[in-house]
Amino acid sequence: MLPVKDRYDEVFEIEIDGWVFGLANYPGEISAQVLHRIIRELATSFHLAIEHNVVFNILHIAHRFSESARFLVHEQELAMAIVAQLPNPATLEEDQQLVLGLIIDQVEQAYPGALASFYNRWKIGKKAA
């Protein structure tokens, strides 16, 4: 396991806790659009977490988001949305590719086929780059 840089795991945990707190305490109904917007906003944080060697648990994050949104959006949908925000492995260094692999592997085990569905996307992204 690679060492975490700059204690970024703590930063990332606080960040996720903050969003979960906001979602759980929002008085109105949380729609799928709002959750997807939050996940898109977190894309930078996912990138930074991978850069800092933080192996975060996508399933756990998806479950917490779904729970705080009163389970109006299924956690599988959220997990896939988070995977969609992960960087293209082709753009990462070797260490970060390993971290990304560990992150995606958890999702792949829970939802077989997740990796395959994003593989083509990354392939296209690589060609474009």
Binding site: D6, R7, E15, D17, G28, S31, L42, T44
Partner: protein, 282 residues
Amino acid sequence: MVAHVVNSTQIDERDDMQHIQTQRLLAMRVIAPPKSRLGKLIQDRLSQLYDELGESIDPAKRRELAVAGANRGAANADRDPLSVQRASRMGGVGNMGGSAQGRMRDPLGIVGAGPLGATANFGNPAIESGKPIPRAPAARTSAPTPKIKIKDPAVEQSQPSWVWMLSQLLQTDLKRLGVEPDEFDDIRILLIKNEATQFDKLQLLSRLPDSLSPDAVTKIFEDIRTMAAGYVAFVLVERAKAQAERGEEVKQLAELPRSVSSPFFGIPIIDFDPEDILKKID
């Protein structure tokens, strides 16, 4: 070759008939088929009104019909307390106000005749300006109608009204269909009533549904972000306090959560020279 000579009177009559026909079609289009007693009542009155209008479209006659219709509506309301309750419910939920204020604007006289009869206050310039409104003489011969709660129009107007937005849209449609401006209000009210009934079923009448607002998601998102930022600030302060209590050196985290603290992080900065752009424009 036969020349068809049409004099100006014939043209006027033909235009009038076309106009009435347009109105009739518009009215029929917006009123649901008479599945209920109320629906039949409305449709009967529509037919009656336009038959009468077919005989004469004199503005004075129209006003007379409007007052007569209002009186009929009031009389019906007196006879049918249940319908007034329904009208009250409608008025209470949607600020539609089933009242004498609406009677002046209700040529069909369906005020107080049920949920659809709760004629709206919207679109009335007098109400919008908050001025008192002259009331139509109501032919009350029986027990007085139970009072209907009406929201203060001034208060109502101070809030953004989806009904107003809807009426503006409908007005554009009516213009396109060639309806005269002085006929707008009558037809518009019918159209809005129809819309309002549908919204009433969904219990969304009192405000613009969030889902229809283009900024709804952004607003919710920013609210959640604000709460998240508050949480992050609280946690960081608590961490610092805990470190200080343990006698440790208070260390800040290397980074702050960017999605919370820096909303514009990640947007690429575009380098450009303004002079170049100005030269291109020239």
